[in-house]
């Protein structure tokens, strides 16, 4: 069976959930071989984790020469790895950075590229959600090695035994690939809440919060949810851009999305319309968000949310 390369999504060796989803999907296409860009010291620990989800091999690519530059070196390394291993497909978690890696790789390998898949079936048929979630598209790569970036929450991770054999891969990075330099990096502080794109529940606030996110955050915490925001809330400086849901923010597809004081503009919908269950609290009964909801409360979020938070806590005991 041919290998399917799966690029591991991680922060400092801490493997993120989309990696396990991708490994699960990869098994439909061939034998998963994970690719770890990071420090070789972390390779073994990472391999222990990914082999539980079926990774037969783990290629460790030392990122010492890679992390100081934007995107291009990763594409070169993957090209060299693909030329050596001849994979059946290459899967990457759909982040902005990985999409750019995938784009460059597609040119290098002369391969078709599909971005932001929400599902990949046997035979490599992908599903994408397009036009702000109003259409789904079934597509397939017809030329070269399929390169597919896959969104978080596209599959339920399923455990499977893999050998997890660690193999270090030495990539040769050209000088042209080192022309966009990372001059400084400042890690964002963790909120202690689940990651927005990975969370099962997202509770968001918009302009209707009036700048007070405490009711939104309180309700989110009672449900163990991630917190999101509309662009209006971000532009007002109430929440950092990293929390923005929508066309120019994050796309989320949780089991439950709760929009509070958010009108439901098309650009916001683009980032949340594929959520399984949608709930809204808005004081305007005419707000377009109510066209999407499974359940809606016409009311003031400043009174509804604190009361709901109390009730959730009571139920949970």
């Amino acid at each position: 069976m041919s290998e399917v390369l799966v690029v591991i999504d991680h922060a400092e060796g801490e493997v993120k959930k989309p990696t396990y989803e991708l490994l699960t999907i990869a098994r439909r296409l061939g034998e998963p071989a994970a690719v770890f860009f990071g420090s070789p010291e972390q390779g073994d620990a990472v391999a222990e984790k990914v082999k539980k989800y079926g990774a037969a091999k783990v290629y460790v690519v030392d990122d010492a020469q890679i992390k100081g530059y934007l995107v291009a070196p990763k594409a070169e390394a993957l090209q060299q790895l693909a030329e050596k291993t001849g994979p059946a497909a290459i899967l990457l978690p759909s982040t902005f950075e990985n999409k750019e890696v995938a784009g460059r790789l597609a040119i290098k390998l002369g391969s078709g590229l599909i971005t932001d898949a929400v599902d990949v079936q046997e035979g490599g048929v992908t599903t994408q959600s397009v036009f702000a979630g109003n259409y789904t598209v079934q597509a397939k790569v017809t030329t070269g090695t399929p390169i597919i970036t896959v969104k978080p929450n596209s599959a339920a991770p399923e455990e499977a035994d893999g050998a997890g054999a660690v193999e270090s891969f030495a990539a040769t990075i050209s000088d042209v690939a080192k022309t966009a330099q990372v001059v400084a990096t400042q890690p964002r502080q963790s909120t202690g809440r689940p990651e927005l794109t990975e969370a099962a529940i997202v509770v968001s606030g918009g302009r209707g919060t009036g700048g007070d996110f405490a009711p939104v955050e309180g309700f989110a915490d009672s449900l163990g949810a991630a917190v999101g925001a509309s662009r209006a809330a971000v532009d007002s400086g109430w929440m950092p851009h990293a929390f923005q849901v929508g066309q120019t923010g994050k796309t989320v597809s949780p089991q439950l999305y709760v929009a509070n004081g958010i009108s439901g503009a098309i650009q916001h919908r683009a980032g949340m319309q594929t959520s399984k269950t949608i709930v809204a609290v808005n004081k305007d009964p005419e707000a377009p968000i109510f066209e999407l909801v499974d359940f809606g409360v016409v009311g003031d979020l400043h009174t509804v949310l604190p009361a709901a938070t109390e009730k959730v806590k009571e139920r949970k005991g």
Binding site: E100, R104, N134, Q138, T179, V183, T185, P187, F295
Partner: protein, 266 residues
Amino acid sequence: MNIVVCVKYVPDATADRRFEDDFTVDRVGVDGLLSELDEYAVEQALQFREKREGEEITVTALTVGPEKAVDAVRKALQMGADSGVHVVDDAIAGSDYLGTSLVLAKAVEKIKADTGADLVVCGMASTDAAGSVVPAMLAERLGMPQVTLASVVESQGDQVRIKRDNEGSTEVIGATLPIVLSVTDQSGEARYPSFKGIMAAKKKPLETWSLTDLGLDADQVGLSVAYTQVEDTTARPPRTAGEIVTDEDGSGAGALVDFLASKKFI
């Protein structure tokens, strides 16, 4: 110095966007416009020029698209770009990312030979394909540094520095011109064309190029040679109307929590 700004003509997101029978995006039957996210690219190109007083800097707006796509270039000229290029050819229809980026790269190379291309500015994503991949692919094809998803752009001499939000961090990226730059909607509101700008745009040079002008053959691009194939498109079934309750004396919170419990979220 010449700046090339890549602008895409896209179907209006507030219109009823749809597909043709061959599953390509309907770019003719649905009203189109300059992609909102490319207005930010035009704005940053213009600001780059304005901040460097005393230097001779021109801005060329470039689009690849059907007849009507020229509207995207016109809008960029109205906003203040100096000249425009519209690449149009029936054979381009249905191109995927590989085809589109190839045509764009060839067009940039031709502009470079004519007037220079010291900076190529793109939007963060097109509002129809929303891939956010073309800028990186252009950089790959042109062999230029890629500096993408900038929320702040600064330059001095031939050095450019940008700030950007990455997954778990904010970053500063630096590179030396010529570069391919993409900018986000955080980079600053785009200006509206003034009446004067609209009048002036009518006299600005606007060229139309075909594949032949770029040295490309019809069988190098388009739907028939795309590396990917769409097998089906399905309109999302309309959401069945949900239950809406009105909060009275605290009833809303109870109803909300009951609903969440019934769906096993609590």
